[in-house]
Subunit: 201 residues, 2 copies
DNA sequence: AAATGAAAAAATCATTAGATTTTTCATTTT
DNA sequence: AAAATGAAAAATCTAATGATTTTTTCATTT
């Protein structure tokens, strides 16, 4: 079957897709951090009205302002430009492997990349790579989220709310609001496609 | 680090974990099909009170009854026993690769396996394999769900709400309530880890 | 022990009012 | 000309209420 609306054809107008997306990103990041317009605007030394307009793409923040906001939201400013080289139709819909931003995770031995092309969904997909020999610290406090995942490769031991399980490729798990910990006893990295709902990043 | 509560040790009491899980499964399946106790009980020729008790594990349905219910809910009766050989602590938390049930998907060229160990979560994880050369029919009507996925291997062309995208390994997508269609123009199966929220199975 | 039927309890749903947050927009500033 | 402000208007969120539906409980029968 043939689909219409093929993207990426030459002569496509690019528009100010980035400027528009930046606003949505800021809004989503602000929401997951439970901040109001007033709080973020205040911290950034700008007015509520201005931030509202920025988030809705009605006005464009200066690079200086964006840098400031990124800082307050705990992301690198480059995060906002992760898909800028892609066609506008694709933005927010697809995230190419090469564009995945590395996120959060101050833990060593764990690299997390965002798979979700949008931050405004009801869940978030993440690719986590657990280094051989690495482990989380103590079980982290339970988050008010539901987590799930599939082990793509390697092996991983997880401790979830009192139960220890050894995961092998293809095994999947899911739990809600339980504390958990992990440990990679294997000799190769463990790759997990992880799902969190609602989004936390 | 060492975790406590290791499972699978010998001498563990097995309990009636299956009977208990069956009830929860029935309830979840019934919910996703938007049926009330009265509707399902009526169709099964049983009382509301009885079904309520079955779903909460207070009473055990006969195999004949369970067969009947499975039929009305559109699943194979074996579905209820998918993790029965596993330790009870693991049930509802982990789903082993070998235990994954094949689900729905009347479409040829598409095999879907359930990854979620529980049906009562806020999202569902599915492993979809799209056969080489296969394609969906017309774009299916949009569901009131949010869908996302990652292409693990192979290549897949998707048409999502008017936009056609070519996906390669590692690419991810996410969309809410849009009609979509797919086509595998490649020569190898395309494997996608798919997420649907809320659960539809 | 399973199954029923009916009463009791609980959960769901639609309103509504109040409070908070966000948007709009006329005006000022850069 | 576009960015930024500040205040009014609109929209969103919360909590409470009552009506309705659904589910649970439980005494009784199969």
């Amino acid at each position: 079957m043939n689909f219409s609306g093929k993207i990426g054809s030459l002569g496509e107008k690019w528009g100010n897709a980035v400027a528009h997306h930046v606003g949505e990103d800021i809004r989503s990041l602000r929401k997951t951090r439970a901040m109001t317009l007033a709080q973020l605007a205040g911290a950034a030394g700008r007015s509520v009205g201005w931030l509202s307009q920025v988030e809705r793409g009605r006005t464009t923040p200066s690079v200086r302002d964006l840098e400031q906001l990124a800082d307050l939201l705990g992301v690198n400013i480059s995060f906002f430009f992760r898909s800028s080289r892609r066609a506008p139709e694709e933005q927010g819909l697809v995230l190419r492997a090469a564009d995945r931003p590395t996120i959060g995770s101050d833990e060593s031995g764990l690299v997390e990349e965002l798979l979700s092309p949008t931050l405004s969904g009801s869940f978030e997909m993440i690719r986590s790579v657990f280094a051989p020999g690495a482990s989380s610290g103590d079980p982290r406090k339970a988050r008010p989220t539901e987590d799930g995942g599939v082990l793509i490769s390697g092996a991983l031991t997880m401790w979830i709310g009192g139960t220890e399980v050894h995961l092998y490729p293809g095994d999947s798990f899911q739990f809600a609001g339980a504390p958990y910990a992990w440990r990679n006893d294997g000799s190769e990295p463990a790759v997990v496609i992880w799902v969190v709902s609602p989004p936390i990043y």
